[in-house]
């Protein structure tokens, strides 16, 4: 953040009147440029006793396995964002069932929302951001090769809940590793 996106003037980092923290402010046109956390939405696409994972074709965690997820876009619902990501990353058609887990990841200013989802059929293939996409039974999950801790936690909770068949909504926190 160097220049005002409204008028192009160089920005100043200061506490605006009545505020309690520093913001990027334009002393020319007066606009305050707030910065806020970004939402990531994804799902656990399930079909029979298997779930769909994607092997990442992009950094970070190139080559590691993940659930389809990505940034929520303006104008879409949380569920439609999660559905879109499943299609983009795995060309998979999913039915979003219910919100399942919500995570604070403060140190990267992200909030993650993962849904449970029903994978409609086996017509999936790698999207542009995936090297491959594949169905896994629980015993075959590549636990040592999962891309992100938030995905790892979601999968652990999912398989725990699966033993009881009850999937209560969960809030978690992914803290920065020391």
């Amino acid at each position: 953040m160097n220049f005002c996106s409204n008028c192009g003037h160089p920005l100043t980092y200061l506490t605006p009147p009545g505020d309690d923290r520093c913001r990027y402010c334009c002393e020319s046109c007066g606009v305050v440029h707030y910065q806020n956390p970004t939402m990531v939405v994804g799902c656990i696409p399930e079909i029979k006793d298997k779930i769909l994972l994607c092997r990442r074709a992009i950094e970070p965690s190139y080559g590691k396995w993940t659930l389809p997820a990505g940034y929520l876009e303006n104008g879409e619902t949380l569920a439609s964002g999660a559905k879109r990501e499943a299609f983009e990353e795995a060309r998979a058609e999913v039915e979003i069932l219910a919100p399942y887990a919500l995570y604070d990841i403060c140190y990267v200013n992200q909030v993650y929302l993962m849904f449970r989802a029903h994978l409609k059929d086996n017509n999936f293939r790698a999207g542009e951001e995936s090297l491959e996409v594949k169905l896994f039974a629980e015993k075959d999950i590549p636990w040592e090769e999962i891309a992100f801790r938030v995905i790892n936690q979601t999968l652990i909770k999912f398989y725990n809940d699966r033993q009881t068949g009850r999937y209560p909504f969960y809030m978690g926190n992914i803290a920065k590793l020391q």
Copy 2:
């Protein structure tokens, strides 16, 4: 969005290579300026059989009643954001209990998360963005004077659930009025 916040060059609105929608792009330094929904966090501060509402001292909905809520800031958890807003708007100390309702409000690019909360004591007073703050029993809720539909829906659900004493997590959608 007129100028690049990185280098100050005028922006172009186009679809970047490999993307599927228009973004504000800098053809000088190459930065793509993504725009994403903002999260609003709030709570229902409850003490005995009453809840705390704030009468807004700012637009929109100046003079109407609302639950304490506001934009999630970088670096804070969803729960700590909701707690901070209760303090800012009502100088109220709350204990955040559980996530309660999550709303898509696509037409303003917002996601709302409301928590249930315990108001710790009666030491509250209007913060700078409130004209007054007050405890209400259900029979006294000023239903005709609630600031936003998302707050109205949250209160309706809360009082419905209160009859059973069970407060299941809920996902809602606030659509644009035609």
